[in-house]
Amino acid sequence: MSPGAPGADSAPLLVLDGVTKSFGAVAALRGVHLELHPGEAHALVGENGAGKSTLVKILAGAHAPDTGRMTLDGQPLELRGPADARAAGIAVIYQEPTLFPDLSVAENIFMGRQPLRGLRRIDTAAMNRDAERLFARLGVRIDPARPARGLSIADQQLVEIAKALSFDARILVMDEPTAALSGVEVERLFGVARSLCERGAAVLFISHRFDEVFDLCQRITVLRDGAWVSSDRAADLTVDEVVRRMVGREVSSLYPKQDAPLRDTLLEVRGLTRAGVFSDVSFSVRGGEIVALAGLVGAGRSEVARAVFGVDRYDAGEVRVAGTVLPPGSPRKAIAAGMALVPEDRRQQGLVMELSVERNATLARRRALSRLGLLLGGAERAEARRWTRRLQVKTSRLTAPVATLSGGNQQKVVLAKWLATEPRILIIDEPTRGIDVGTKAEVHRLLSELANEGLAILMISSELPEVLGMADRVLVMHEGRLVRELPRAEADETSVMFAATGQGAQA
């Protein structure tokens, strides 16, 4: 029995005990304990990267835990794949919808379980009727025969919910299902979840919206850094207490931002809006300053960065570099103006994995290095050597493919690539995600040095200690809006987390 959890009134339906899961060197879950009781809605809360989504994937049978055991009705439960999870009565609504765009809505709901008629043929009419009935329960009208392609995010989410409902699941797992839903739709979803509970099902609800958590759930489990923190009755907790448990850790001294003299404003963003993604985002960054953009995953931080850099278009607002308006939608002009973007997803956006270290490092400034349009090896190599040395990239040779490097060293090569363009403004998205502690410290030292040299740095980070340690100012985003601006002195874990979860946004 988990310490701190009150005695349950019934035997648990599903128990996870001592579950761990690592991806390479990163431990996503470390000995998590979770009990789901029939007729109860259970909330799972934690910061970004606390391990919630990994736990969901394990329950869904998509990941196998490294150690630990699961029991269902007291019997050991082993999930070898999503099909096993379904057979065990576990239905999962993922954070991101997982639909088949080419197939009809009804087929999406009933894939693999379509109603049959003679000769085991699919009974399309019955399938559409059943889908219609599910939508009626949810109180929405979606044509079951239309393809899923083109459905709005909210409608896609509703199809996912209908799919989960159609299982008659004993355990319903919802990974942030409400992010795209309107108030009415959320109420209906909760109505359905409650009626499932009344029939003896267990619900696991993951959300950053505390009002919803306390509205729906009877029990709350807090995860932090992949480890179990507490499980309590919701009635015994307050929002303050939950937030404290989510973030409760000492800020380590790993993050050495030195005070740099502030110079002129280099980057100025005014009223930036992209319909449905973010709206009215305004901020500025001065030379020598590190400004952190904090918020939960999906708050729109990376999207703002991409728009500022010109990768994505925006509907309204303007971006100024050192006072000059930057034309929207042109990364080439942004680079020319002295801006650099180190993206979050290194593998997909930052590096050409098959190319050599030196090729990657000089990719962003081939033009400057070429003579008469030809890239000559000498210039490229000299430039690459300069930056890889400064960043202490550990590689056997500069001609080794980037794919052979560790995550931390790959990140350094991406940095080298952009620093080689000698930018005045550096936008860096999740600078230390998935890299080891030692390299982390090096990246932080480097960022601090660069700020000292007069660069304006906009850093997006989901790691609160990093934000608090590195940033001179913290901008907090919540659901597409900039809700708080906190100077270094006022920023602490609680104030940032409160703003990021939409609590006290007006305060």
């Binding site: 096993d84 080419d102 049959l116 009626a136 044509d143 083109g150 459905l151 909210a154 739709e185």
Partner: protein
Amino acid sequence: MSVTAGAPERVDGHPPTGPDPRRRGLAERLLAVRELSLLLALAALVLVTTLRNERFLSGQSVKDLLLGCAILVILAVGQTLVIVTRNVDLSVGSILGLVAFATGSLFLAAPGTPWPVALLLGVALGALCGVVNGGLIAVAKVPALVITLGTLYAFRGVDYYWASGRQINAADMPRSFLRLGNQTVLGVPVLFLVALVVVAVVGYYLRAYRSGRELYAIGSEPAAARLSGIPVGRRVFAVFVANGALAGLAGVLYAARFGTLDAAAGTGLELQVVAAAVVGGVAIFGGSGSAYGAALGAVLLTTIGSSLAVLRIDPFWQQAVVGALILAAIGLDRLLAVRMAARLRGRSAHGA
């Protein structure tokens, strides 16, 4: 509900009314449109050609046409199975050549073999080639394009090694077998009837069976397919085996039809097969298209071949016309996709 574009699809707070009997799936309607437009193109082509030379519609000419397209139809239908799962099989031409030569060799070695046995053995050899393809793809986790490009040469190489320059002639094969290739029932070649059966079976399977729909799901969104518990690896393997078996069937029919066989039979056929499927509306990135469409694509391509000859157009242009047709088909798909997306977005506008 799908009567007017842009009408609010959902009205919050009101329970939905019963299903509209007039309502038909948009996807289904577009599918119908696609196959209809192929039929129209085919009709227009035949009409124009016949106006120039009325003998184009004579019994013998039509019979030649049906005979000529049967093998391509079977291969295109098999390829459809593969392409809807977001894969491709480039080795079908080589499988056909290998099986055709094997069939001839069988009759050479055992002249008394009844033709149904030869047919079954040919299909089995084709399926075995499919097992090789499917197995390599499952083990190596390399795109099917690369694997089947390799087996294209490998199977052909086996064929050449085996034949070592020999040629098998019609005289070496039993009359009953050769008749299979030329016989007609009520004026329709048997070969074409076989192709029709294949089209009907595969087309209906893809439409009405759970595992058939799962093939579309795999091609439409592989990650989601895995999460919904579809045995993706097993299905893809099965699809390559089925396609190999159909290529084997086509190989036996090839032997029956032409009688004269060497190791080069079916060289380059794979690209015609893929072209037929694409022209027939099978999306090259998987998830949509039908066996019926692919079969119509194959008939259209074959008809173009013969009508250009009748129209006395330089054979050189034939390739260019086929190329233009493929580009037109892809352009049409793109246009339909864009228009459908716009329309669907309008339809899903929220009432609230």
